[in-house]
Amino acid sequence: MMKQFDCVARQYMVLVIVAASFFAFDSCEESLPPRNDPPKVLAVSLSAYYAYGYNTNELRLTVDVVNIYDETLADTAAITGAVEIVWTRLPQYRKTFVLSPKSMVYYHGFNPSTGELAFDPGDTLRFNYAWDFTTDDSVSILDDFQYNPSCPGRRIANSEILLLQSSVRIFSKVATIYSVPQLFKLCYIEGYAFGCSVPDCN
């Protein structure tokens, strides 16, 4: 019986030594976590609407940047970016607005004289732009619309699709963020005339 135990014990010991060696050296990595800055601290959204009236006829765009982080981000603002409009039917026609502090219309926590920005959690920075339907090359695209002749004295264009997108950088330590590209349906209306009904833009 002792011999049997010896045999078993030797097998056990070999197993233990092999297992111990294996587990001792199977994976000897133990690196500390790398420093990863939080992936998303700001969010940007782009909205647009067509404003027309007696004295107004333009596409108005609003860029909202929200601090979605749970801390106040404070640093010297390094605001760069752009809002881009591309006419999908005639993509050579495009308009780019460059973001700058001058176009900010809402900026709680920003000191224009020093350029310091304390961006609280949940706060919004807002940039407004108005497009007068001229391209970056100062070409008017109004003549390229296809108009509905039903109302004399007034041009009502068929719907056109514009691609709107924006990119924003607020701080040098935060990467540039991009809004979700969106398609905007525009039905240009020229002039204002009584007695003409304006069809839905479809």
Partner: protein, 856 residues
């Protein structure tokens, strides 16, 4: 037949004889002496005739201890230092017998009966390995004794870790649902607590310990100022045999590119003992040095030179025995540590965390005197000194300024923690114990202890105010925890205990009574906070009130009785109490400082009462198949007067405004209950060990002394309610297995399973407000993950020179063998390691150390 007998006898002439598992009867009953010595006794009889043998010479080899048997064949040796001994029994006309490996534990009476065989021929001694009894039928408490040989085999680094291997304990050192500070540590019967901050105040070299006794339930009136457990460490002494050795171990053997699972640890120890004058004067010394770069070496290396952590400890003893009845011991212990803190959020600015240093010294003079065969006393005098330093060398080098976070407010990238501290504690202890065997069935013991303290603290500490979720509130001023004090409290105790044994069945009745006192020797300032504007107060000291002397009577009662030959029951109940840490008494109450306008966030209270526990347990033990001892124990503890803090507002204030000021009060309580099931096998050729299962519930109203002030700071309502404490570990299984492998390899396997402990789940989206503000803050409302740890230590001893007993032992010590990622903490959002993924949220990964011990 006769020829065969002669043949057998001739075979028995070998020195290392056959191993007989002899039927020796051990009683390891009563507590006796000063916690540092034990008794060996028994009866010697003729093996064939069973008659008592008179005048048998009994000698403890390599010591001066010896005696002869009386007319009834009994022998009795008092005041044996704990250790493992060989004891020789010789009588003309009989074979000399050497009982090997008799382990003497402190406060234990070891009973060894010896049968001797008549022989006309003088032969070489017959060696018999003594076997301890499976159960100690007259032990009415829960205690675990570990001898030095076992300590050497365990995969542990410090002796505190041995506590965590016992039933009813957690990995952090909680015992039966109590706080870790409720455990008292004694070295040679004298306390070694940090009385300002709590915890153990000293370290010991591994080879300086001869035995440890851990009491987790029902400790006698001899032990006080403890609520949960007592750990009594007895250190080695010199004897007539010169023996020494060196030990070295390390954990780094491969380039770091191949193996990162290291602390870059090196440890060395040297020990030696022997006679200065044979039979009169002995010495023992052991000194250990351990250096490492810690688990965080990958970050530490960018800020600090190696080694980051340095620990030195040593024990030296001179024993003088002018006669076998008198022993005078001069003992010195030192322990020094230098290290740097590590916090993950500071990893890019670790130099901003303060340097830390601790120095501890203790010198003791112990006189043990045997007055007669039945009585003895021990008197000791010791001076214990502990110094703790935080921060730069000089206070003037500290600049108070908020430290700076990175852009994302996650890591601290510049600045220093505003923390400088110098604390010193001195304790002079005079202790005496007297023991008298009034009659064979009645053992009486009495003792006293007087402690005179010198408590000094100079602390500068400012911390930013944080939300519950750990976010700094930037517009709020720094919280001031600074204070300075110097007090000279005094404490003492007197105890009596009587142990009565029944002559009918050996049942034991223990009755004890203990009286303790604490004189804080301080005055409590009577402070008024006069509102000067909304939310602003001016402190005015209107007078002082002397803190009263606190006294406590603690009765203890225990009973044990055999049920049958193989089983016994026991029951004990007792009142236990513990005085508060001195920092809770004295911080921030210096009238001069208050008058000068210093305002402390949390003020001490010198009139704090001791925390009190009523604890009882009932148990049943039996032997199974003559090789296993099994027990089942039910325990219950109820603790009152626990210390917490309370915010106080002056009665003439206009508004509460901020959280006012706070002080420590006794207004909390906790309960613990559980069942421990243990099976152990302590003797065997190949396999010994134990397995235990504990079910335990630990609930209370407060788990830290700062709980109430923290809740006020965080804006949570304070509702008195009971919740599971952070150490409420419902299920735990501990396996401790020793296997003697072929080729003389010893192995010790430890498997610890601990069920999930609680944490508080209270998520936030922004770090300032909870996601669901309609829900109340309920502490510890969720559970983490189970924890399983496997440790293995294997060793092999090589005899280099049999004549000079020179040997080399090689060992490999593997902790967390399977590299399990065991969770230690989870933040309130349920994230392991918080938003930074702090790796300290896991217990230490696998570590493998190899070492060698040369002895001669």
């Amino acid at each position: 037949m006769k020829a065969n007998l002669c043949q057998n006898i001739s075979l028995n002439l070998r020195t290392v004889a056959f191993i007989i598992i002899a039927e020796v009867i051990f009683f390891i009953p009563q507590k006796s002496f000063a916690g540092t010595t034990g008794i060996l006794e028994g009866k010697v009889s003729d093996q064939a005739a069973y008659s008592a043998l008179i005048n048998v010479n009994v000698r403890v080899l390599s010591t001066v201890f010896g005696t002869i048997t009386n007319e009834e064949g009994f022998y009795h040796l008092n005041y044996l230092p704990p250790g493992t001994y060989d004891v020789q029994f010789s009588l003309v006309g009989y074979e000399t017998v050497v009982m090997k490996n008799i382990t003497i534990f402190p406060d234990r009476r070891t009973h060894v009966d010896v049968p001797m065989k008549a022989s006309a021929v003088e032969l070489k001694p017959v060696e018999i390995v003594a076997k301890r009894p499976l159960i100690q039928k007259d032990q009415p408490e829960t205690a675990f004794s570990i001898a030095d040989l076992k300590l050497e085999a365990l995969p542990v680094t410090t002796f505190q870790e041995v506590l965590t291997l016992q039933p009813g304990t957690t990995l952090e050192g909680n015992v039966r649902g109590g706080k870790t500070t409720e455990v008292v540590y004694l070295v040679d019967g004298l306390p070694v607590q940090d009385v300002i901050s709590g915890g153990l105040g000293i370290q010991l070299p591994k080879n300086s310990i001869t035995s440890m006794t851990i009491y987790t339930g029902g400790f006698d009136a001899e032990f006080g100022n403890a609520l949960s457990g007592v750990v009594n460490v007895v250190t080695k002494s010199g004897d007539n045999e010169t023996h020494g050795g060196i030990r070295y171990e390390r954990d780094k053997f491969l380039p770091l590119s191949l193996d990162q699972q290291v602390d870059r640890r090196n440890e060395a120890e040297a020990f030696i003992k022997g006679p200065i004058v044979n039979d009169k004067l002995y010495y023992f010394t052991s000194n250990q040095a351990a250096i490492s770069d810690t688990r965080w070496w990958q970050d530490m290396q960018y800020f600090f030179p190696s080694p980051v952590s340095r620990k030195f400890s040593g024990l030296s003893k001179i024993d003088y025995t002018p006669s076998p009845n008198t022993r005078l011991t001069l003992q010195g212990i030192y322990s020094m540590e230098r290290w740097r803190d590590y916090e993950f959020s500071w990893r890019y600015n670790l130099a901003g965390l303060p340097a830390r240093a601790t120095d501890t010294y203790r010198i003791a003079l112990i006189l043990s005197k045997i007055l007669s065969d039945n009585s003895a006393f021990t008197v000791s005098f010791s001076r214990y000194y502990n110094r703790s330093h935080v921060g730069p060398e000089s206070k003037s080098e500290l600049t108070i300024a908020p430290y700076q976070y990175d852009f994302f407010l996650r890591y601290i990238v510049s600045g220093n923690r505003n923390w400088w501290a110098e604390t010193r504690q001195q304790m002079y202890t005079l202790k005496g114990d007297y023991t008298s065997q009034l009659n064979p069935l009645n053992l009486f013991k009495a003792g006293f202890e007087i402690n005179q303290y010198n408590i000094f603290s100079d602390l500068i500490k400012y911390e930013p105010q944080l939300t519950y979720f750990g976010k700094p509130i930037e517009d709020e001023p720094l919280l001031n925890y600074s204070n300075a004090y110097n007090y000279f409290p005094r404490a003492g105790s007197v105890y009596v205990q009587d142990r009565i044994e029944s002559s009918y069945d050996g049942a034991i009745l223990n009755i004890g009574l203990r009286w303790d006192f604490l004189d804080p020797r301080a005055e409590r300032p009577l402070v008024e906070y006069i509102p000067v504007s909304q939310n602003q107060y001016q402190q005015q000291v209107k007078g002082t009130a002397k803190a009263s002397v606190k006294q406590q009577i603690s009765p203890r009662f225990a009973f044990a009785a055999p049920v049958d030959v193989q089983s016994m029951i026991f029951f004990n109940i007792g009142y236990y109490f513990q005085y508060p840490l001195f920092d809770y008494l004295y911080s921030g109450i210096n009238p001069t400082q208050i008058w000068a306008g210093a305002r402390n966030v949390l003020a001490g209270n010198p009139d704090l009462e001791p925390e009190r526990t009523i604890s009882w347990e009932v148990g049943y033990k039996r032997t199974v198949a003559d090789i296993v001892a099994a027990s089942i124990t039910y325990f219950r503890k109820s603790t009152k007067n626990q210390i917490d803090s309370k915010t106080l507002v002056p009665f003439d204030s206009k508004s509460a405004g901020d959280f006012g000021f706070a002080s420590y009060v006794n207004d909390s309580e906790a309960d613990a209950t559980g069942i421990e099931v243990v099976a152990s096998r302590e003797s065997g050729e190949r396999i010994t060990g134990s397995i235990s299962y504990t079910y335990m519930v630990a609930e209370g109203m407060s788990e830290t002394v700062n709980q109430a002030i923290n809740l006020a700071e965080w804006g949570f309502p304070i509702r008195p309610m009971t919740f599971p404490l952070s150490w409420d570990q419902r299920h735990s299984v501990k396996i401790d297995g020793n296997v003697k492998l072929p080729w003389n390899i010893q192995s010790n396997l430890i498997i610890l399973f601990n069920s999930a402990r609680p944490y508080t789940y209270f998520p936030t989206r922004d770090g300032f407000t909870p996601i669901d503000s309609t829900k109340d803050f309920v502490p510890n409302n969720a559970r983490m993950q189970d924890v399983t740890i496997v440790n293995l230590k294997m060793s092999r001893k090589f005899m280099l020179n049999e004549t000079h007993s020179t040997s080399a032992t090689v060992y490999i010590d593997m902790r967390n063998l399977f590299n399990a990622k065991n969770v230690r903490w989870i933040d309130s959002n349920g994230r392991i390691g918080g938003e930074l993924g702090d790796p300290s949220a896991y217990y230490e990964p696998r570590r493998v150390r190899m070492g060698v011990v040369f002895e001669m």
